[in-house]
Homo-oligomer: 339 residues x 2
């Protein structure tokens, strides 16, 4: 954020176009979160904190708190699943509320949260890289890289760290239908980071595992309940079930801002149902280099599009956080969070 | 087949265009199998039998068997996984070999095999529909409907029969990346048959099962080993593993021509690796109604594209055949095949 403007990488046109969206008000930032110009748990959190700060900057002297409270509700309503969103809004709001200079305090807190997210992800990379041996084939789902956070990423941070440590690694990137964040964003990040990878169809994971081709699975998280149940991009659960069957270690990587202490179990995590069109249409690059949307099913077809699923704690080997690797149990989580 | 010409529905342009390809030689029919103009276990078998018959019709008097044997090898080399292909080629070839009039015998045998496939699928529909109760939500993967066979289909035959029996049913259709046979072909068939359905992302199956939304899974097969291990479209294995976890009955539907008695276990079934481009590009309809191919990943990305996976017998509830529902064990399979 500079002045009252938030600068966001437009993730809807990657990998075909790199462009920065300038969001001039909290309204515009809300739209950017909703339409997934900005997506990924940490990046949503960062954008939400800045949107909250924008609202404080915009609020008129008369009816200041009314304006800010309405904005708070508006930002919270953009997307329902990512815990980082609610965490960031609350922290920013509370910091402003506690200050004599709420505008300045909100901006400062948003900056602090962004820095904190980046710092946490860096540490996740450090802890997570210890799990990766040279020669490993790593499977990941969706995009939990630096695009999905303020920097470094969660699931990809250990991979980048391992690469810097000169470990020989290869990444199996799930395409991640319907929106293709694997094929579009993770592949683009890995290409930029010069990490060798291959894109694979989402449901091929069990096949590769059954042939002994995957050494470890690392994915991100949108919300983690106190008992360790984890909501992440649709398709994560199937991968976790397959990993369990074939004895492949299955790790979640997430900063502690992803834990929802008010949520006792995965069954209370709200699952966002997004537009059918995300399943029925695909966007990509034509031969002529134009970004085009195509229909991939009979006209008038219906689709279901749950955006997330919940992986039960028992299928998770560990949760890589900035405070170390945490067992997916209530006791271990509360201890790590020092609650 | 009429005269020496085989008529095939062009499955590569469905559901956007219905067109019939006229294949005038066994060479052209081989190309049609290879490029998936015709696909689906039974339809591949039918096309292969007719290709064999075409070769017999084409063969010159001088060097007759040399021509036919070369054609046989050529047809067998089109695709490696579907057992129906090898079954159909062998049957047609043997029937011709045993006759004084090999040309006529080959044509007659190809016709008989096509009729037999259709008849078998009709019976699969009958047996399979007994498993479907009114109110059931049925999950299926890929396309094992009448497009994939000579008629009726295997996995979809019980659904069509249940619909005729006025049972209230709903089908969860896996998109089936990379080629989208679910979204493109199964959805189109179900629309034609007026069966209510929704297209879902491939890896969402476990999510729906975890919420109790799926009552039964029925899929087709490309090859079944003597021990019951079954090769089917990539993604089937993940679905079977998830079904096991959530106690959802998981059925294979296939005519007995899909069993490979020479194959003792799934690990000996060859898995076809197809072009990376099937993963990296998607075909569909633009807003202007043009069929267009778009790139859905960064340029120069690598992809892995195993076309099938193997589901172990222990994950299969039963195999719906034209001879009834067979347990996935060597003893039951040999008994059903009367070997």
């Amino acid at each position: 954020m500079k002045g009252g403007t938030v600068f966001l990488i437009d993730q809807t046109v990657l990998p075909f176009k790199f462009s920065i969206v300038r969001s001039k008000s909290h309204f515009e930032t809300c739209t950017a979160i909703k339409n997934m110009t900005v997506r990924g748990a940490g990046a949503i959190g960062g954008a939400a904190a800045y949107a909250m700060a924008q609202a404080f900057l915009e609020a008129p002297e008369k009816g200041f708190w009314k304006y800010v409270d309405a904005a708070k509700a508006r930002i919270a309503a953009t997307r329902p699943t990512a815990q980082n969103l609610f965490f960031a809004i609350d922290r920013t709001y509370q910091a402003a509320k506690a200050s004599k200079f709420p505008r300045e305090a909100a901006v400062r807190e948003a900056e602090r949260l962004a820095d904190r997210d980046s710092e946490a992800c860096k540490k996740i990379g450090e802890y997570g890289s210890r799990l990766i041996k040279s020669g490993f084939n790593i499977s990941t789902h969706c995009n939990a890289g630096w695009l999905a956070f303020v920097d470094y990423g969660s699931a990809l941070a250990p991979i980048y760290r391992a690469k810097k440590q000169k470990k020989k690694i290869f990444v199996y990137v799930d395409e991640t239908r319907p929106r293709g964040q694997g094929a579009k964003l993770t592949a683009w990040e890995l290409k930029n980071e010069k990490v060798p990878f291959a894109i694979v169809p989402d449901a091929a994971g069990a096949h590769f595992m059954s042939r002994g081709l995957i050494d470890i699975v690392i994915v991100g998280a949108d919300r983690i309940a106190v008992n360790g149940d984890t909501a992440n991009k649709i398709g994560t659960l199937e991968k976790a079930i397959a990993a369990k069957r074939y004895g492949v270690p299955f790790y979640i990587a997430a900063p502690t801002s992803t834990f929802d202490l008010k949520c006792s179990s995965g069954r209370y995590i709200p699952i966002e149902e997004r537009s059918q069109d995300e399943v029925l249409f695909q966007e990509g690059l034509t031969e002529k280099g134009k970004i085009e949307k195509i229909l991939i099913a009979p006209k008038g077809s219906r689709a279901f599009n749950p955006s997330f699923d919940v992986t039960p704690a028992e299928l998770i080997t560990g949760i890589i956080t900035e405070r170390g690797i945490v067992k997916p149990s209530k006791a271990a989580i509360l201890k790590a969070l020092k609650v």
